[in-house]
Assembly symmetry: C2
Homo-oligomer: 200 residues x 2
């Protein structure tokens, strides 16, 4: 079985959202599957010293323009959440919990949560908001609510974040294809090409 | 006459080098010309708080890999200079001096200096190195050497750097097409598309 494509992302990353709209199509073309791996950019930024993009003078204004322009180019809906950046912890925990409980729902949840945040500009920080999204996939809402505060689920996210950073993830999306890392939604064409040719 | 394409860049920027290898072809396809506008990222970084890319933990290693990988994709020679980052002041002064003295040589000089730095990995910090490159374009070497320390030439660069930052340049390359800014050598296809369609 060909290796999965590791898709590291932060739920509060607009570029992660934009890439999430395309990565599965790319994977399918090459008979690959996507391994959705949310992590926390805030933890990575403490190591790299990167300031928060949208809050950076000059660069932040460009970034907001580029988010919307790239969304139009990709043909995906885009609306900046009023609260930005926001805490992506609950949504990230939900992914790893779902991965064990019902792996087939993971991709659907990631896309639904990202769509809520950046397609509709809704606030997905609260556990309640995340539980609503999971519930629409047919899982009992109370079960999700208790999972999101389960110490084992919390620990799982911590382990996954540490692992993501060990793998080199410092931005979102950070995509690893057969050991080769690609950072940014502007590297999707290179990802596609790498999957075709195995390198260049 | 259609507006020029403003190509803001820092001579010590590998992505600026990579974009410089393609921007003229893109401009020509749309009957445009390139306005070469070197500036100093160090000045911009003081405002944005950006750390130096290649020196950033984790991200720096990725960047070095991405420089070389993008160069292979673009089919341009690439060799990291031993001293990196390096001071791009002399080369930048030379551009603005040439722009007044012999504007037709500007593009040739930019490409020759960039090629020396990142195609051959040579150190172009010293005025002597820059003068050698200009001299190969048929200009008297001593004339260049004195221009590079001329207070008027020095002032000119300062004014241009301030202007670049006022225009929003915070990274390299930073390309403005009919008022629309594009940052990065990974935005060249968008630049091409924008020139075709006037937006999207």
């Amino acid at each position: 079985m060909p290796a999965e494509i590791d898709f590291y992302f932060d739920f509060s990353s607009p570029y992660g959202y934009l890439a999430s709209a395309r990565i599965e199509d790319i994977a399918k073309r090459h008979n690959r599957t996507v391994h959705w791996r949310p992590f926390l950019l805030g933890v990575a930024f403490k190591i790299t010293g990167a300031p928060l993009l949208a809050e950076t003078p000059i660069k932040g204004d460009y970034a907001k323009r580029d988010f919307a322009r790239t969304a139009r180019l990709f043909g995906v809906p885009f609306k900046m959440p009023e609260q930005f950046p926001f805490a992506p912890i609950a949504a990230s925990r939900a992914v790893y919990w779902l991965a064990d409980r019902d792996p087939n729902l993971v991709g659907r949840f990631v896309k639904a949560a990202y769509h809520a945040a950046f397609g509709e500009g809704r606030n997905i920080t609260a556990a309640e908001s995340v539980a609503d999204i999971v519930a629409r996939l047919g899982i009992d809402r109370m079960e999700v609510m208790s999972a999101l505060v389960d110490p084992q689920v919390k620990d799982r996210l911590r382990v996954e974040v540490d692992d993501a950073i060990k793998k080199g993830a410092f931005g979102s999306p950070y995509i690893i294809v057969d050991g080769e890392p690609f950072w940014g939604c502007d590297r999707l064409e290179q990802v596609d090409r790498w999957l075709t040719s195995g390198g260049w």
